[in-house]
């Protein structure tokens, strides 16, 4: 029983998901699900923080190390921010109750995935975090483009999941066990190499890292921006934790993982940043920028245990402002020109967007800078000088396209009035995301201290 208590945060979110399905009917309020879900998610985050770290539970299937705790809290909090936004805005023209339930189920999967210590648990939680995302991406049932993108996402994601499962079966065949702790025997033999490569294929696709990124721009561009805000950020955090823990578990791989991670990193940074540059739709732009950020994360993941911590920290540093920008796009319109004149209409939100974008570029004192600082420190410590040089050069390129958004917000001319009506809940969500973007940078120390993160 006491072990089940450790899962209270997951259970709370699960409870929220179940309530969400009926909340609208019972209360008669169209967005009751999100109104109930947001505080539940906050409580889940607090409980997860209070529980803190814990050794192996359920016969070692799960373990709450500092990374898992950090990820659990981050996922629950981001879910709360997203739900808060939905409670004011809804999920587009559709009913929002199912979207709320799906997002919460996906968050349960993500939180479990972060603490998984067993391949079976990993795969199940991975699917739990991804399945709802397919539906969220195709949430607008009447939109042919959205459905096409969602179908593409579904098919490719299933394919990569199955490849990953195939790889996991190899790993099981070699080690005779599904526990992470026994994966060290997966050596550099042919079968071991294949196992590792297949597992990485699955995780790369979850992180939309190149070369398994090509579904993202189409899927995002067809999906409701509000869904993208969730799908492109929260599941990624869990994916990075799983990646980092698997990389550590495959200790006997003889350097194969490092090579694959670095190749994926290089490709993602180049493809993501260069392809993001010409985009005019925020969803496509952020899709490619997400690919680029996954590239930085893979670089850190290849850089030892300090790098692993940095990768998870950076995943959060990426998710927070990225979610904010997609939510803003959902509210104001997703073409770059839709944001034109935002500074005149909503100056506070416009300045908040400056904070988000500068954080994504990596300008101090925002969290993105500390993410890059710790990542590059870990990578340089591992002698990855040249790839770090590529990474920093590419972050200058990224400034080029993020400034296109800024330029539209502050200097774009727009004749018609903005379409967004005021929503207090959305403003609260923006404020919370902005505070986290700033505070996690300036006050990084107490946060790192609390979670016991070490670089």
């Amino acid at each position: 029983m006491s072990e089940l208590l450790l899962l209270t945060p997951e259970l709370l979110v699960l409870l929220g998901a179940l309530i969400a399905l009926f909340a609208d009917r019972i209360t008669g309020h169209p967005r009751a699900a999100a109104h109930i879900g947001a505080p539940l998610a906050v409580i889940a985050a607090l409980v997860a923080a209070l529980i803190g770290t814990h050794g192996g539970v359920f016969a070692g299937m799960l373990a709450l190390d500092s990374l898992a705790v950090f990820a659990r809290v981050a996922i629950a909090l981001l879910l709360a921010f997203w739900l808060r936004w939905v409670s004011g805005r809804g999920a587009g023209a559709e009913r929002s109750a199912e979207a709320v339930a799906l997002a919460m189920l996906s968050a349960v999967g993500g939180m479990l995935m972060a603490s998984a210590r067993d391949l079976i648990v990993l795969f199940i939680s991975l699917e739990l975090s991804t399945m709802p995302a397919y539906v969220l991406m195709g949430y607008r049932r009447t939109d042919a483009r959205g459905l096409e993108g969602a179908l593409k996402y579904f098919l490719l994601s299933m394919l990569t999941s199955l490849i990953m499962l195939y790889g996991l079966s190899f790993a099981y065949g070699i080690s005779g066990s599904t526990a992470y702790a026994d994966l060290g025997v997966v050596d550099a033999g042919t079968l071991g190499q294949l196992a590792i490569a297949f597992v990485l294929v699955g995780l790369f696709a979850k992180l939309s890292a190149a070369p398994f990124h090509y579904w993202t721009p189409d899927a995002y561009a067809g999906a409701p921006a509000g869904s993208v805000a969730y799908v492109s950020t929260v599941p990624k955090i869990a994916g990075v934790v799983a990646l980092v823990q698997l990389v550590a578990a495959f200790a006997g791989n003889g350097g194969t993982i490092t090579v694959v991670l670095l190749a994926g990193s290089l490709l993602s940074m180049l493809v993501g940043n260069l392809a993001a540059y010409p985009q005019t739709d925020i969803r496509r732009l952020m899709a490619y920028s997400g690919v680029a950020h996954s590239g930085y994360i893979l670089l850190a993941a290849a850089a030892g245990s300090a790098g692993g911590t940095a990768a998870v920290f950076y995943a959060v540093a990426y998710a927070v402002p990225s979610m904010a920008i997609m939510l803003l796009g959902s509210e104001e319109g997703t073409a770059l020109d839709d944001l034109a004149g935002l500074a005149a209409r909503r100056p506070a939100v416009a300045w908040a967007s400056v904070v988000w974008l500068l954080s994504l570029i990596g300008i101090p004192p925002m969290v993105g800078f500390f993410g890059k600082l710790t990542m590059f420190t870990a990578a340089l410590d591992n002698g990855l000088l040249w790839i770090v040089a590529v990474a920093v050069t590419m972050s200058v390129v990224s400034a080029g396209y993020y400034f296109k958004i800024l330029r539209s917000v502050f200097f774009g001319e727009r004749l018609d009035a903005g379409r967004a009506t005021r929503s207090t809940a959305a403003v609260i969500a923006y404020a919370a995301l902005t505070v986290v973007t700033l505070a996690l940078g300036v006050l990084a120390s107490p946060v790192l201290e609390f979670f016991g993160l070490r670089f």
């Binding site: 420190t377 120390s445 201290e449």
Partner: protein
């Protein structure tokens, strides 16, 4: 002392910026009064600090707190004579910029808060003694300057603002790599602790290269200067003044504070290369300035030339040269600030910056014409005015050093060129009979004269009484050289 004076000097403008922004455009008059008050108080605090400053006391007013101990970041502020001269320049020019742009009508709340935010970054860079803190302020400067250029600039302001941002960012990300490399090697991020660490020469060479990219873009050193003319031509007057007056100095300050003391072996290896680039910058900047038909562009290119003397002085690594470098940094801030203010004031009246369309200022508007002539003389390095001090000392230091004599001679030719293009400017614009554009204009207002007078006074004081500046800089540059010598 209990009062954390440097923290107050750095962050008071941040408070001011927030207040001005919150007052908004509806209460713009109150906002600019707040902005001016904050800037004046800040300058007064710098003056107060200068009075209590012990010129032989090395690093003073030290504040050191832990910030992110997990990665060794501290909140470490301190000031020496070199920093003090730069902070004084920053506080003075910010205040003057606020007064000079008193009548800004387009979005004044944003304008004044951005100027104050810029001051936070500028003041901070010169007193931050922790690498990450230094980097924070270094990058902080970019944001307000981007908005100043992109909102109030000329027709191509968007292009110029983004170009400025991206160029500087490109340099600074490599600086960040250098910072991380130093941290991994020494285990500290403290700039002062790291000095004289006796690092491996090959390692030094690479880190120096990384920092060189960051600093040389900012200075700017030929051929990394191409953002500067665009930024200056498009920038509004006050932004040009602060860009040329303070932002460029951040680059040369970086060489003096970081590259030389921490990477002395690499600095010695690089000195000839830097001297060569300095000489090329001097002559190239001057030659291009010659060809300009736009007054503002002429002043912008003359900055490339003058900053070349700073780099020459730094490359000499002699007491004279380094004193000269700091003196040029200070004097260029004052004199070029004056020139940009004057060009802006003339433009406000004539609505043209074309040299060919403006002539006879002294006949029509004697105060403006006279001050423009004065500033031009100071800029060309007339003995008795501040411009001469630094250029003379830089050249003297370069002669005394190992820099190949050819580069020194080339640089000296630059002095002649500067005299030629500035005098030619005076001849065409100040002298002669009033042109059509000048015919109906009025002379400078009391407010405008009040902006220029402190700069005129500083030009004279430093030019006539060198010790007024050098007494602050000399101990500081000697300690830099001592760190280079003794490991």
């Amino acid at each position: 002392m209990d009062l954390p004076l440097l923290t107050v000097i750095v962050f008071l403008p941040l408070l001011g910026a927030a207040v001005v922004a919150l007052l908004g455009n509806a209460r713009a008059a109150a906002g600019r009064a707040v902005a001016a008050t904050v800037a004046v108080v800040d300058l007064a605090l710098v003056a107060w600090l200068a009075m209590r400053f012990d010129v032989d006391g090395g690093m003073q007013f030290v504040e050191k707190l832990t910030w992110v101990p997990q990665v060794g970041i501290t909140y470490h502020l301190a000031i020496d004579g070199m920093s003090l001269s730069m902070v004084a320049l920053s506080a003075l020019l910010t205040m003057l910029a606020i007064v000079a742009s008193w009548k800004t009508e387009k979005n004044p709340a944003l304008w004044f808060s951005m100027l104050l935010l810029l001051e936070v970054g500028m003041n901070g860079v010169f007193v931050a003694m922790d690498f990450v803190l230094f980097y924070v302020f270094w990058e902080l400067v970019l944001v307000p300057m981007y908005f100043l250029i992109a909102t109030w600039g000329g027709p191509r302001r968007q292009y110029a603002a983004v170009k400025f941002f991206l160029y500087t960012l490109f340099g600074s990300v490599f600086m960040l790599v250098g910072i991380i490399a130093l941290y991994l090697q020494t285990g500290t991020l403290d700039i002062l602790e790291m000095a004289g660490a006796g690092l491996d020469p090959t390692f030094q060479w690479w880190v120096f290269a990384a920092f060189f990219l960051g600093f040389a873009v900012k200075v700017p050193v030929f051929p990394l200067h191409t953002w500067l003319p665009d930024a200056h031509v498009e920038a509004p007057t006050a932004a040009s003044v602060l860009l040329a007056g303070v932002l460029l100095k951040m680059g040369s300050y970086g060489f003096l504070r970081i590259s030389l003391p921490i990477l002395p072996d690499a600095a010695a290896e690089w000195s000839t290369f830097i001297a060569a680039l300095a000489a090329i910058s001097i002559v190239y900047g001057a030659a291009v300035a010659f060809a300009q038909t736009d007054m503002k562009k002429l002043v912008a290119y003359s900055s490339v030339s003058h900053m070349g003397f700073v780099m020459l002085g730094i490359a000499s690594m002699t007491p004279e040269g380094l004193n000269g470098a700091v003196a040029v940094m200070f004097s260029h801030g004052v004199v070029t600030g004056m020139l940009f203010f004057l060009v802006g004031m003339v433009y406000d009246r004539t609505h043209t910056r074309m040299i060919a369309e403006v002539s006879g200022l002294s006949a029509k508007v004697p105060v403006a014409g006279g001050l423009l002539a004065f500033a031009s003389f100071a800029s060309l390095g007339l003995p008795g005015l501040s411009g001469f001090v630094g250029e003379f000392l830089s050249l003297l230091g370069a002669w005394a050093s190992d820099i190949p004599v050819g580069w020194v001679v080339t640089s000296a030719v630059g002095v002649l060129l500067a005299a030629a293009y500035m005098l030619w400017l005076v001849q065409r614009v100040v002298l002669g009979s009033p042109s059509e554009a000048v015919a109906g204009i009025t002379d400078l207002s009391v407010r405008e004269v009040a902006v220029l007078l402190p700069l005129v006074a500083l030009t004279l004081v430093v030019g006539l009484y060198w010790d007024s500046l050098l007494r602050f800089t000399d101990p500081a540059v000697r300690s830099v050289l001592a760190m280079m010598g003794g490991a």
